[in-house]
């Protein structure tokens, strides 16, 4: 198979085409959607946070696990970041950012320990920690919120600033993607995550340290969710206890849309990120396309069903092709024997 046709067959390519068509059509109808400094900036800025959560979710789903707590980790770290600026005014901004991300790592370690050492299904554990982390967040914040005026200006401008027209947040998201995509695609430990997701029993027999790898998967997921939380505080400059509510399912949806199969072992974080971009772009484009904003979610649901149905059709076709090629190999020597 030549390089071009492999590229065309890739799921990621399909998502890129969908995003391209969507942006093109919407821009023709309403030029300000993607052109002009504001349009272009929002096009890249809006999906940035979900992109990072999609990478986090992608890592975990590839190992056949799931992390429902990402939204709660985001919420808690966002509020903690805000609080640090208010309560510890002497702390330099980079230190606060590091502490915020570190809190995410800590929460990820809690998930990882419970899942890999407790050997309990991640759906149950992260559902539990989703409640617990969000509960801590609400108990801490109460009805309070951290407002823009209480945050240093240098920090909040980072959330909307652009470099050569590209938002800083988007650059961060792409950097995260590049690092994680390299680790998952090219390094030994990354490939082991795929092996674990495909067949964890076989991975154990093969001698892979499954529990340690899964632990690090959750650690990475928590760290990235923490990063997203810090960036949330910078982006919106106002954090209440409900920051990021419901984003856990958006992140799962983005990963599924981008071809990361929920059964583990397949897909790429690039796909998950493109899924996140498609998801956010759709919800921004629908009002322009004449579909009321209230119907966005319904369209989204239909789209995800379409995407997983498509995956199934493609997988079935590939399986059939594989079978028929096996059959022709098996038949060939038999023919020779006859002649």
């Amino acid at each position: 198979m030549s390089g071009v046709s492999t590229l065309l067959r890739r799921r990621e390519f399909g998502v890129v085409v969908a995003i391209g068509v969507l942006i093109a059509v919407t821009t023709v109808i309403s030029p300000s959607f993607a052109t002009g400094t504001d349009g272009f900036r929002n096009l890249l800025l809006t999906p940035s946070l979900l992109m990072i959560l999609a990478v986090a979710q992608g890592i975990v789903i590839i190992t056949k696990n799931i992390d429902l707590s990402v939204s709660a980790v985001l919420g808690l770290t966002a509020y903690a970041t805000g609080r640090m600026f208010v309560d510890l005014p002497g702390l330099p901004i980079p230190v606060v950012i590091l502490l915020g991300v570190g809190l995410g790592t800590l929460l990820g370690a809690v998930n990882g320990t419970l899942v890999s050492l407790g050997r309990v299904p991640s759906l149950v554990i992260t559902l539990g920690t989703l409640y617990a982390f969000r509960g801590i967040d609400i108990a801490w914040a109460g009805g309070d919120r951290v407002n823009a005026g209480e945050l240093p200006r240098e920090f909040t401008t980072m959330g909307t600033q652009t470099v050569l027209g590209v938002p800083v947040l988007f650059v961060v998201a792409v950097a995260v993607l590049a690092v994680v995509a390299y680790v998952l695609g090219q390094t030994r430990s990354g490939r082991e995550l795929y092996a674990i997701g495909s067949d964890d029993a076989a991975a154990v027999l093969y001698g892979l340290r499954v529990r340690r790898r899964v632990f690090f998967g959750f650690l990475a997921s928590g760290t990235l969710a923490g990063l997203a939380g810090v960036l949330f505080a910078a982006r919106y400059a106002s954090v209440s206890s409900n920051a990021g509510t419901g984003m856990e399912l958006e992140a799962v949806a983005a990963a599924v849309l981008g071809g990361v199969a929920i059964v583990g072992g397949t897909g790429t974080v690039l796909g998950a990120v493109l899924g996140a971009v498609l998801l956010t772009t759709i919800s921004r484009a629908l009002p322009t396309l004449g579909i009321g904003e209230f119907w966005q979610q319904a369209v989204l649901g239909a789209l995800i069903i379409g995407a997983i149905l498509l995956d199934r059709v493609i997988a079935a076709r590939q399986a059939r092709r594989l079978r028929s090629s096996h059959a022709s190999i098996a038949v060939a020597p038999a023919k020779e024997a006859v002649t």
Binding site: G118, P121, G135, L249, A298
Partner: protein, 352 residues
């Protein structure tokens, strides 16, 4: 060696009654039921007003949607699937009742349509999971968005209120006159619980559900129609979720697109606390009822004890994690103890 094929030896002996009693008393269900009682006693002793009929009354009314949806959800999870779209279906059903009522329909007709929507939505989930063979987690995350999206699309941010009093009274009337603890609407749950309890524990369909959850392949080879079982289970969750939506609408006198948003996780938590394995094949209705009541009770106790409504989330989360970790630790320790005892016996016998 024909003796090994002796049919009498092949069939497992029925467990002695004493052992059955022991497993019942020390089992998972008993632990959860005991915990319900414990929280009850602690609440009555330490928290003012807890244990008064009015508290019980509101506790039951608030816990009812979880109790209702937990019944079919138990069977879905035992069959090794999951349905995350239940809260969205609840919202959609509520909106359908509201929109039709607003359009001048009689309320019973609006309710009938809402329940039909529940059947159709459940059938859609069932078709995609059972017939097409897609993973239920992905399918129901999608229909979670789809059903909620249709609900919000139909009504926007508006709410329909002002349902007739006689219908609202129907869900809030007390069974034994004013001041007593039991809401009459609880009868709906009792009927449903008996129905699902009998279905799961005493019928071939129930055994097929366990079999499908234990091993889909083995049950297929033994003649269980796994897709059919799963299809009907999703239809059941859709229907009961729609029923809970009707209840929600009348109880709070409000049909809104965002009714019960995020509620699916509370239902799943109740079922898992009730001892159902997320891997399928294990669990029972009595445990789940206790699990749902435990969560409802805990919320009521904490609320009355003036713990901020928010720390209740922490309690739910911790309860869920503890409920899966502790049994695992117990079986782990038990296994280690048995191994240690066996190796001890072997070493003494070899020294003889």
């Amino acid at each position: 060696m024909t003796t090994t094929l002796d049919p009498v030896r092949q069939t497992p002996k029925p467990r002695p009654a004493a052992q059955r009693w022991r497993s019942l008393l020390l089992g998972r269900d008993a632990a959860v039921i005991g915990l319900v009682a414990l929280v009850w006693i602690a609440g009555s002793v330490f928290v003012d007003n807890f244990g008064k009929p009015n508290t019980v009354y509101f506790l039951l009314l608030d816990a009812l949607p979880i109790l209702l949806i937990a019944m079919p959800m138990t069977m879905v999870i035992i069959s090794a699937e999951i349905d995350l779209s239940v809260a969205s279906m609840l919202g959609l059903s509520s909106v359908v009742v509201g929109v039709l009522f607003q359009g001048g329909w009689p309320i019973w007709a609006a309710v009938a349509v809402a329940l039909a929507v529940g059947l159709v939505g459940g059938a859609l989930n069932g078709f995609l999971v059972a017939t097409v063979g897609l993973p239920s987690l992905a399918v129901t995350v999608a229909t979670l968005a789809l059903f909620r999206g249709i609900a919000v699309g139909l009504l926007g941010t508006k709410a329909v209120t002002g349902f007739p009093d006689e219908h609202k009274d129907l869900v809030s009337d007390r069974l034994f006159g004013p001041g007593t603890a039991i809401p009459g609407i609880l009868l709906v749950f009792v009927v449903l619980a008996i129905g699902f309890g009998v279905l799961l524990h005493f019928t071939p369909f129930g055994r097929a559900t366990y079999a499908a959850g234990m091993s889909a392949r083995t049950s297929r080879f033994s003649g269980v129609n796994v897709p059919a079982v799963k299809f009907w289970l999703f239809v059941a969750t859709g229907f009961v979720s729609a029923l809970a939506g009707v209840y929600w609408t009348l109880r709070y006198d409000s049909a809104r697109g965002d009714n019960a948003a995020g509620f699916e996780l509370a239902v799943v938590a109740a079922v898992l606390v009730g001892g159902v394995s997320i891997f399928g094949g294990r669990g029972a209705i009595p445990g789940v009822i206790a699990g749902a009541l435990l969560i409802g009770e805990l919320r009521a106790v904490l609320r009355l004890a003036d713990v901020s409504a928010d720390a209740i989330n922490i309690a739910t989360g911790v309860l869920l994690i503890v409920s899966v970790i502790v049994p695992r630790l117990v079986t782990g320790l038990h296994g280690r103890w048995r191994r240690a005892r066996r190796s001890g016996l072997e070493s003494t016998s070899s020294s003889d």
